[in-house]
């Protein structure tokens, strides 16, 4: 009896040191085994797995594509007027010395990121080449265009822009300041709305991912009821029983995220050429920016996390109901 007891499993009170040291390696090796076995089983039933992966993938891809478009709109706003340019029209009779004093004072202004002088002549030349009114313009007896200083402000928020514009307009050497604040305000409002929309959509679809993984795991638990009973009968702990299902959730989530990534990349390829063509017609250099490396990692990690979470919830709900009879 004593000889046998030595080899029997650890006593209820606590484990011996020896059994603890070798069980860590065994524990890890069991994790590895369960992880790979679960994945192999998923590939064996590839059609059903593919369906689940696609459902999860679509749920991830929708808000992702919106997020990317929003990001690009942000970038677009930045290039166009989100980093808004203020055009300062100088008085026509302003001398060269006064002009350069004004330019220097603008450059030194704290609220200004950069300031660039476009002389009346340069403005005319640019207008002639771009507008197609070359003949009309050259028939004019004088240059109708004033000199302009283009200012790029540091701040982009509508309130601080308004302040800067008001200050500039007060200066005597300045004829007028042109700046479409409403446009910027609207753009910001639309972008903020878009962000909220993407957030809300992500929450709902994330919940959808959680539920669909939970439901798939619930079915898997039902299918393996007999196995769970036997494992419990021969002394399997709850965490041992839970493990394969958590891995199942992990693979569903990770696989779903991978499919989402694929769908996003394909959609971007599909969308990029018409969008770029559209924007080139506005003479804007623009390239659709996809998912970066970090964003891809975040996507995969959140997929895996939601998978494990969904599985954990499902297993927690159903595991206690299955007891050997």
């Amino acid at each position: 009896m004593n000889a046998l007891k030595k080899n029997s499993s650890k006593p209820v009170g606590g484990a011996s040191v020896q059994s603890q040291t070798f069980s860590i390696a065994a524990y890890l090796s069991n994790h590895k085994k369960v992880g790979t076995e679960t994945l192999i089983k998923l590939f064996k039933t590839w059609f059903a797995s593919l369906m689940t992966w696609l459902v999860i993938g679509i749920a991830f891809a929708l808000p992702l594509i919106l997020y990317i478009l929003l990001n690009n709109a942000n970038q677009l706003g930045g290039e166009w007027q989100g980093k808004p340019r203020i055009s300062i029209y100088l008085k026509a009779d302003l001398g060269a010395a006064e002009t350069s004093t004004l330019l220097n004072s603008l450059i030194q202004n704290e609220a200004v990121a950069s300031a660039k002088l476009i002389t009346a002549e340069a403005a005319l030349a640019e207008f002639q080449t771009q507008s197609g009114f070359k003949d009309v313009l050259s028939s004019l007896p004088f240059n109708p265009l004033p000199a302009v200083i283009e200012v790029e402000p540091k701040a982009v928020s509508p309130a601080s822009l308004k302040l800067l514009v008001t200050k500039l307009a007060d200066q005597p050497s300045i004829e007028s300041v042109s700046f479409d604040l409403d446009w910027v305000e609207r753009l910001f409002a639309i972008l903020a709305l878009g962000e909220r929309f993407v957030t809300a959509l992500s929450v709902f679809l994330g919940l959808g991912v959680l539920l669909s993984i939970g439901n798939t795991i619930r079915l898997a638990i039902e299918n393996r009821r007999a196995e769970i009973e036997v494992v419990k009968l021969v002394g399997g702990t709850d965490s041992f029983v839970r493990r394969p299902f958590l891995y199942l959730g992990f693979w569903y989530g990770l696989g779903g995220a991978l499919f989402a990534w694929l769908m996003v990349q394909i959609s971007l390829i599909f969308l990029s050429s018409p969008i770029e063509r559209l924007l080139h017609s506005y003479q804007n250099e623009f390239y659709l920016v996809g998912l970066g490396f970090v964003e891809t990692l975040i996507l995969l990690a959140s997929g895996a996390f939601l998978g494990v979470l969904g599985a954990g919830i499902a297993v927690g709900r159903h595991l206690h109901q299955i007891e050997p009879t």
Binding site: A3, K5, S8, K10, P11, N30, V234, G235, T237, F240
Partner: protein
């Protein structure tokens, strides 16, 4: 090893499966549990491996009061008890090897150790060379022996068998019983539920007889 102290079990609905059962089974003892079907044999076994809880009285296994055991500690008791079921309770989508290895995997043994012990257990029950087969390809007697190998593979101090020879012919039944005797000879406490009175009498071990939930 096992002690029942005034144990009663009433199922929901009022049926009394066990009534004030008292007995003790010493370490390394071998005994048979007999009685008609419905006499409470299975219930008694289920109480020992915590598939059921006593309605009244105390059940002790290896000195541990099962009534006071929390859910979390149930696996530790079950690992001390090897159980052979009448319906084998094998996993049909796993090989013989994996079935037998299950208790070792659960208690966290290293793969090499598992391989060694599983092969030893299979050789003990005369199933060497069948480890890669699936249970469905085996005969009833062979499946029963896979169940026995799984019950003894982690060398539990206590072995329970519920009608282990239920569906087997007399020749095979004898062989299976001999296996249990061999385990008992190396110190395992063995309790076998059986209604094969002739075989039980032949073997001559202690007999616990249940009738309508009472121990005679």
């Amino acid at each position: 090893m096992i002690k029942f102290d005034q144990v009663s079990k009433r199922y929901p609905g009022g049926r009394e499966a066990l009534a004030r059962v008292n007995f003790e089974l010493a370490d390394a003892e071998m005994a048979f549990l007999t009685g008609h079907s419905g006499a409470g044999k299975s219930t008694l076994m289920k109480l020992i491996i915590l598939m059921e809880k006593a309605s009244q009285g105390q059940v002790f296994v290896d000195g541990i009061n099962l009534n006071r055991l929390s859910r979390r500690h149930i696996p530790q008791i079950r690992r001390k008890v090897g159980v052979v079921f009448q319906n084998h309770q094998l996993l049909f989508d796993r090989t013989v090897f994996d079935n037998v290895a299950l208790p070792l995997t659960i208690s966290g043994h290293q793969p090499r150790e598992i391989g060694r012990r599983v092969r030893a257990a299979l050789s003990k029950v005369g199933l060497s060379g069948k480890e890669k087969q699936y249970p469905v390809a085996l005969s009833g007697g062979e499946q029963q022996r896979v169940g026995i190998a799984r019950a003894v593979v982690n060398k539990p101090p206590l072995l329970l068998a519920d009608e282990p020879t239920g569906n087997l012919d007399p020749e095979l039944s004898k062989e299976i019983m001999n296996l249990f005797e061999q385990f008992n000879q190396v110190g395992v406490t063995v309790l076998i539920a059986s209604h094969d009175l002739e075989l039980v009498k032949q073997l001559g071990y202690r007999q616990l007889t249940l009738s309508k939930g009472c121990l005679l």
